[in-house]
Symmetry: C2
C-alpha cells in the first residue's frame, strides 16, 4: 500500500533547494545585460572582483575565495588573458604558482563596473532589508560547510 505522506517532501513546491538553484540562475541572467557591456560572463566578473581587490593572487587563492578549482578556473583565466584583461605568470620563487596580474585594461574595467551593483540591485527589485536577510541566511549556510 502506498503511503502518500512519504512523498509530500518530493513535491517541487516543497523543495528548498530548487528555488535556490532557480534564483541563482535568475540572478546570473539579470547580470548578463550589464556584463555584456564589459564583455564578461558572471564567473569572469567574479574573478575580476577578486583581483580588483587583491591583484597578483594565485589561481588557488582566487579559487579559495570563489570556491572554484583549477579545472574550472584555468580555462576561464585563459579567456580573460586572451581578452587582454590579465596576465598569468609563473612565480619565480615557486614555479608551481601562477600569479594573476591585471593589465591596465583589466584594471580600468573597474571604473566601468562601478555602476553594476546598484543597477543589479534595481533589476533584482528585492527590498534592501530582504536582500540583507537573504545574504545573511546564505552566508550562514555556506559557513556550515567550511571544507569548501
Amino acid at each position: 500500500m502506498e503511503t502518500t505522506e512519504n512523498y509530500e517532501q518530493l513535491k517541487l513546491e516543497n523543495q528548498i533547494c530548487f528555488p535556490l538553484y532557480a534564483a541563482s540562475r535568475l540572478v546570473t541572467r539579470l547580470y548578463q545585460p550589464l556584463l555584456d557591456e564589459l564583455g564578461l560572463t558572471y564567473p569572469q566578473y567574479l574573478v575580476l572582483l577578486v583581483l580588483w581587490e587583491h591583484n597578483g593572487l594565485t589561481v588557488n587563492q582566487v579559487g579559495d575565495r570563489l570556491h572554484l578549482h583549477s579545472n574550472t578556473l584555468t580555462p576561464l583565466l585563459k579567456r580573460l588573458e586572451q581578452q587582454g584583461l590579465l596576465q598569468r605568470r609563473r612565480s619565480t620563487t615557486d614555479e608551481r604558482l601562477v600569479q594573476l596580474m591585471l593589465t591596465p585594461e583589466g584594471n580600468s574595467l573597474k571604473k566601468k563596473a562601478a555602476c553594476i551593483p546598484s543597477q543589479l540591485a534595481a533589476a533584482a527589485d528585492l527590498p534592501p532589508d530582504k536582500a540583507l536577510a537573504l545574504k545573511a541566511l546564505l552566508e550562514e549556510l555556506l559557513q556550515k560547510h567550511p571544507s569548501w
Copy 2:
C-alpha cells in the same frame, strides 16, 4: 581623483549574488552522494520530481516548472531515456509536442528517492525555521520575475 567609496560595492564580501551562486553550487554538491545511488544528477532529479507529480507532461511543461528551455532539456531527457527511466514520444494529436512518460523503472525510483529530502536537510544542517525563511525570500525574488 579616485573616490574609494564608489568601489565598496565591488568588494566580494558586499556581493549578495555571490553567496547565492556559491550556495546553489554547495547544495548541488550536498545532493550528489545521495543522487549517486540513483545514478542521477541534480537537474535530472528535478525533472523526475516534476514527472513523479505529473507524468506525461511535455518538454515545455517541464521546462516551465524548472525554468529551463529545450536546448537544456532535450539532451538531459535523452540521457534519462537512455537510462530507461522515461520515454519521449510525440503526441498523436499535435506532433509538435513530445510527451514524457515515466517507465516502471522511472516510477519505482520514487521510492528510493523518498528519503532524500530529509537526508539533504540533515546534510545542509540549516535550522528548519531558517530554511523556511530562506525559501520564502528566494521565492519572493523569483516571483518578481515571472517572465521566466
